[in-house]
Symmetry: C2
Amino acid sequence: MKDLIVIGAGPGGYDVAMVAKKKGLDVLLINGDKLGGTCLNYGCIPTKTYHKNASLIKDLKEAEIYGLKNLSYSFNYLEVKNRKEKVVNTLKDGINFLLNKLEIEVVNGYATFKNDNTIVVNGVEYQAKNFIIATGSKDRQLSTFPDALNSDDMLDLDILPEKLVIIGGGVIGIEYASIYNQFGIDIEVVEFMDRIVPTIDSDLSKRLLSYLKRQKIKFHLSSKALYKDDEFVYIEEKGKIVKIPYDKVLVSIGRVANYQGLSLENCHVEYDKRGIITDDNFQTSNPNIYAVGDVTGKNMLAHYAKYSSLRALNHILKEKDNINFDLVPSCIFSFPEIASVGISEDYYKDNDLPYEVYKTVYQSNGKAFSANETDGFVKIVAYEGIITGAAIIGYDASTLIHEMAIVITKKMSVLEFKDVIHAHPTLSELFNEGL
Amino acid sequence: MKDLIVIGAGPGGYDVAMVAKKKGLDVLLINGDKLGGTCLNYGCIPTKTYHKNASLIKDLKEAEIYGLKNLSYSFNYLEVKNRKEKVVNTLKDGINFLLNKLEIEVVNGYATFKNDNTIVVNGVEYQAKNFIIATGSKDRQLSTFPDALNSDDMLDLDILPEKLVIIGGGVIGIEYASIYNQFGIDIEVVEFMDRIVPTIDSDLSKRLLSYLKRQKIKFHLSSKALYKDDEFVYIEEKGKIVKIPYDKVLVSIGRVANYQGLSLENCHVEYDKRGIITDDNFQTSNPNIYAVGDVTGKNMLAHYAKYSSLRALNHILKEKDNINFDLVPSCIFSFPEIASVGISEDYYKDNDLPYEVYKTVYQSNGKAFSANETDGFVKIVAYEGIITGAAIIGYDASTLIHEMAIVITKKMSVLEFKDVIHAHPTLSELFNEGL
């Protein structure tokens, strides 16, 4: 009987398996699909690789002002994809190396529960005192678009379409739109809600929309994707049927928890449509079984998966930690980037609570100006003088936001933060030059 | 009689003049040279503008792997310079706009003290209850190289030399070497000490040297620049005379406090070779006269000037603040960047104190890998479990360091910081993935 079996080898699985092993537990890791999970193979990493390429191409559109005269090149998408594969494989080799070094036993295959303490993989039974389910999520399908691409397919295309219709203007849809637009694809986004990325602060969502439109991406908001024929995607936009010509259609309408094959009924683990039900320690209705990350349906970010698995392990080991799940930074790698952490301005507005807000535009920042990255703003939200939230749209938002994660963790007041010396000229000055 | 006269309109001057005016003081600003000072006209801003260009050119050296096939362009340096002028002028207009909006009286000219309460500018006398001297610094000259370029001259060249010898491998010399090297100039750096940028952690200095050498910049360490003739710069390197061919020579051997023209003997302000002597509130030996920034010789960073002027104002107004002058982040915009804050590992070593150090390499970070920015490392230094310092060499160090500035300000422990959720995939993960 193992101390711990971790089911799933994505960010919620491989990391906690290593930490558990280092702490002396006898661990088994079940890898159902590709090592590294969605994040490494079809999510965070491949898209950030493409993001770098896209960013360079974007800069080159203004080559003249950078002193690059008579610029010419031919865009070779296969090299772009090639670099992506190399990056993914190198990082996968890295995980493999660490698993081997720590002598963690890995079984490739899909697990089903036989009873409270037993799983079966490829016909073999494995028993453990504790389990962490980290089986992640999968793309939500749209039944009326049965043969459309999903985000995995899109990354693996060998030839790019000329015209792409993206159904769903959430985080994934918008990241793909931003990147592939720079690769020269003509893009139209169909979004059911009246704004893109409805999960973020409305202020940022609105601003992002205007930047993306300026980049020539087309949008159909408050629009329902109906079906497609050989030539057109049909949508209902403000009561009218609109036809959009396409070469490929990408459906990105969210992701669903992936627990269907686990036979949870055999191990007394409760779940609902959203995912496996857990408490704050990610313990399920079976106290020896934990579920972490996407499969809980609570939050589908890779780092949430990682930290929730660490919390689960700490709970198994009866160790206290300081992980604060109210402070999960989220980033969108669009052009420009978006990032936020803590409480949003919308929350205070919607709940009719008093708050203070401090907004500074990139336009006023010396470093942003020097780097010709003047789109965007940072916003700090405070309640009774204490900083409780931050949101950024602008260059390098994904790095910048982490300073605010610490500020909010430490419950700093506006007055105290204002006095923290920021180096000049840096983007980080954006935070306190507006206070 | 004015409440406050600020002498100097650089980062230590214009900002404090505005804050003072907003607080109701009757303020006069004396602008001896160009508005914005060295920082805006010949320092931080122009170099960061060039840095962006250089960074793009650097990326294009690997165009093939980014899918840019058959890339060609001709480098047009005048456009680069043109953009720099535009950026500088726009930011200058911004300062001007704010000064006008706040109705701050500005006098153009050089001030000399007549007595404790009076200065003379262009023959006109002005009196004030308090003065803030923010006259900055100027390039240190090398008497044996009387007609060499200084850093101001270099930025304003209309035609770039083919071969540049830089005397002095400190912050300025290294930033210039990094940038102009990308512009295609063949560069040799002559440094008197046995390592470049002797002010930073030796670990970073060593690593930076190896990266810069890989970029084909040549170095002569432990070498003394002697003189030059029409063809060669003559240096003494390890006891031997070495001749270096050159087209231009840049001398960047540091800066000296600029107080010589102020007639300080008339207002009882003491100074030494380093600069005007002040206490922790930047008050001079004359309690109504403060000196801030470079002119104190304590620290020659723009943000130090700004915050020291705010401290001086707070002291005048008898207001308390939380500015911590032990935590002044410093950044070097080389390739890759360098940044540090707090106590260095060298300090603990040199003083034979116990400490803990945590080092993580960019190579292990998913975002760095995706962005093909794998050079460098971050280093966190702790004392008795509390984080006291951080140093970074690597992409985006200048933004990253600010998270650690907050961590150190708030005296976070390693254990507490380890549990702060960092978004994946971001460079910021470098900090706690190694703990």
